[in-house]
Symmetry: C2
Subunit: 376 residues, 2 copies
C-alpha cells in the first residue's frame, strides 16, 4: 500500500492542481468534501454521493462521539465500514462543534469540558482524546484539535488563542498513531493577522504534518477579509502538502479560494440548503418554494446532469417542497452536491488546460446573472 | 396498442395467478401497489420503487386535486409524466380521503362538499368530477367514486349507503372516457352483509367495468370479519376480471386475502412504518429504534436483498433513526416496499408452481415466530 502523499501536478497563478494518495483511494484536487455529520451525508445514499463524483467525505467527531460513540464505531471497524463509504474519509477534531453546540463549556490549557447538547451529559475533549477518537473512527485524515478563534478578536486574544492551538497541535502530533496511507493535518490559526498566520504556519510545519488546514475563517469576517487572509497565508505554506480551507463555503468562496491556493473544501451549505428548498445553479441560488416555479416545466439547471435536473421540472420540485415530501429534499440535496462537484471538477479541468483564470471570470459573471427569467 | 385486459393464468383453491395488460405495461397478479399519495412514493425515487419489483403504483385524487391541482397536472401530461413513473398508475376516487381528512363535509345524492384540511378552501366532488379529475391525472386505472360505509353499520345503513354508491357507480361509468389500454373499476360495498355484497356485485357487473374492487374493509372490522366477508364476496364476482382489495394491509392480511381470491392490494403501511422505524421481516415486524439493536451487526432481514439489508447493520439503521437522519427512513421505506414486493412475488411463484397452500402456511408460521433472538 502506498503511503499518504500529495503530488502537485500543475499551477496557474496561486491556483493548484494536485492529487492526494491515501490508504482508501486517490483524491484529485481542488476537491469539495460533502459533509456526513453523523455518518451519513444527509438525505443521500453513499452510492448517490459517489455518483456525484465525490472522492472524499467528512464526518464530525463531536456528533459521533455522542452518538453512536467511538467505542461502538471502533467495534464496527470505523465510520467508513459502518456507513458503507469505500473512499477516503476526513474527520474534524470536534473542537469547532464543542464551541458552537456544546453547553457549559470550559477551556483550560489541557482541553475542553462541555455538556452534550442532546442530553446534558458531561464530556471532555483534549488533543490526545480527540486524536484517539478519530483513530477509533478510522479517519483517513485526522484533524488536529484546536480552538477556532472567534471573530472579531484583537491581536492579543488571537495570538494567545493561536499559540494554545499550536501547543495542542504538538500534543496531537505526538498522540497520532502513524498508519500507512493515513494522514494528520495541522490547522493554521491567527485570525486576520498576517504575523500571527505566519507564526502559526512556522510552528505547524516544524511538526511535519501530512497536510495543513486554514482554520478560523468563514466565521463572520466576510468574503473580502477571508480572501485577504488567504492571500498572505497560503504563500508562506509549504507547496508540497495539501491545503484545506475548513467550512467554506458558498460557490464563489470556493472558486475564489482555489484562485488563492486552496486545495480542499468542506461545507454543509449544499446539503443544508437542499433541505430548505435552496438549489444552486450556474446562475446563482434558486428558492424552489417560490410560487414562480409552480407551473415551470424547465429543469432547475439545464446544464446539470443530476436526476433532479434531467428528469424533473421545477414545477414538480416545487410541488414536493410545498407538500413537505422527503423526495424533494432528497432530489435537491443530490442536485446541490452534484453542483458543488461539477464546479470543482470544472476548476480542475481548467487548471489542467491552463485556463483557470478564464474559468474563474466566467464563473463569477454567470453566477451574478441571477436565475433565468420567469415564464410569462 | 393492446386494450385493457385480464388473463387468469392459474388458480389454486380460491387463489388466482393472473396478468393485467394496460396501456402502460403489464401487471403480474397477485400484486402489491405502493402508495404515492402526492405524486411520490414517500422517501423513494421512482427508480428505487421500480427496483423493488413494483409494477404499478397508486396516487390519491384527494391530495392531488388540492395540490398541485388537476388542471396543472393535466398541463404536465399527467401524474406519471410529472413524477417520472413509466409503469401503470391507479388513482383512488378521493371519496375515502374526503371522509377521513376533509373538514365540514356534507353528502347529498349528487356528491360531497368539503373543506380542504390544508387551507379550509371549499371543494366539491361528484361521481362525474372525480372521474374527470382522474382522467386529467392520466390514471391508467380510474376508481369509481363511492361512499366507504363506516364500520360498524347496521343492515339498513349499510344497504342505503351501498345503493347510493351503486347509483354513483353508474354515473361514474357514464362519465368515464374510454381510452385504449385504460380501465375503470367499480367498488363493491355492503359492509359485512352477504346479501348486500351480492346485490352490490350484481349492480356493478351490469355496468361492465374493467375490474372490481372490494371496498369498505380494513376499517376496523378485524382480520376475521374481513376474511369472512371476502369468502362470501369473491365467489360471486366475475372470474375474468381483476379483483382489488382497497387499503389492505398487514403482510398476513395480504397473503390471507390472496388465498381468498384477491388479485390487487395497496396500503400505506410499508411506507408509513418505514418512516417511524418499523421494518417488516420474514419473522414479523421489528422496531429498529429499540435499544437491543444498537450493537447488532446483523442485517434487518438476512433473506432480503435490499440495500438496507445487504449493506447495513441493524446497529447503523438504529443509529440513523436515533439521530432522526433522513437516510434512515429512506432505507427502511425501501426495505419495506421490497419486503411487500418479495412476499407477493413469492405468492405468484408459489401459484405458478401449484404450492400456494404450502407457501401460505409457511409464511404464517415464520411470521408468527417473531424477531431473531437478541445478541447476548
Amino acid at each position: 500500500m502506498t503511503d499518504f502523499s500529495f503530488t502537485l501536478k500543475k499551477t496557474e497563478g496561486m491556483a493548484r492542481r494536485g492529487e492526494i494518495t491515501t490508504a482508501h483511494g486517490k483524491i484529485q484536487t481542488p476537491v469539495f468534501m460533502p459533509v456526513g455529520t453523523a455518518a451519513t451525508v444527509k438525505a443521500m445514499t453513499v452510492d448517490d454521493v459517489w455518483a456525484t463524483g465525490a472522492m472524499i467525505i467528512l464526518a464530525n467527531t463531536y456528533h459521533l462521539m455522542l452518538r453512536p460513540g467511538p467505542e461502538r464505531v471502533e467495534r464496527f471497524g470505523g465510520i467508513r465500514k459502518m456507513m458503507g463509504w469505500e473512499g477516503p474519509l476526513l474527520t474534524d477534531s470536534g473542537g469547532f462543534q464543542v464551541m458552537s453546540l456544546g453547553d457549559l463549556r470550559t477551556i483550560d490549557e489541557d482541553g475542553v469540558t462541555f455538556r452534550s447538547h442532546l442530553d446534558g451529559s458531561k464530556h471532555r475533549l483534549t488533543p490526545e482524546r480527540s486524536t484517539d477518537i478519530q483513530r477509533m473512527l478510522d479517519a483517513t485524515i485526522t484533524m488536529a484539535f484546536d480552538e477556532c478563534t472567534p471573530f472579531p478578536a484583537d491581536h492579543d486574544v488571537a495570538a494567545s488563542s493561536m499559540r494554545m492551538s499550536m501547543r495542542w497541535a504538538e500534543r496531537c502530533r505526538k498522540a497520532f498513531q502513524r498508519r500507512q496511507g493515513y494522514g494528520q493535518f495541522g490547522i493554521v490559526q491567527g485570525s486576520v493577522y498576517e504575523d500571527l498566520r505566519r507564526e502559526s504556519v512556522e510552528k505547524l510545519e516544524a511538526l511535519d504534518f501530512e497536510g495543513y488546514a486554514v482554520g478560523g475563517l468563514a466565521v463572520g469576517e466576510g468574503q473580502q477579509a477571508m480572501f485577504d487572509t488567504l492571500e498572505f497565508t497560503t504563500p508562506v505554506m509549504r507547496a508540497d502538502k495539501p491545503r484545506y480551507l475548513m467550512g467554506v463555503g458558498k460557490p464563489g468562496d470556493i472558486i475564489g479560494s482555489i484562485a488563492r491556493g486552496i486545495d480542499m473544501f468542506d461545507c454543509v451549505m449544499p446539503t443544508r440548503s437542499g433541505r430548505t428548498g435552496q438549489g444552486f445553479t450556474r446562475r446563482g441560488p434558486v428558492n424552489i418554494k417560490n410560487a414562480r416555479h409552480a407551473d415551470d416545466p424547465r429543469p432547475l439547471d439545464e446544464q446539470c446532469q443530476c436526476p433532479a435536473c434531467t428528469r424533473y421540472s421545477r414545477a414538480y420540485l416545487h410541488h414536493l417542497f410545498r407538500c413537505d415530501e422527503v423526495l424533494g429534499l432528497m432530489l435537491l440535496t443530490r442536485h446541490n452536491i452534484t453542483y458543488y462537484q461539477d464546479i470543482t471538477r470544472a476548476a480542475r479541468e481548467a487548471l489542467d488546460e491552463g485556463r483557470f483564470a478564464a474559468y474563474h471570470k466566467e464563473f463569477d459573471e454567470t453566477y451574478a446573472l441571477g436565475d433565468i427569467e420567469a415564464l410569462s
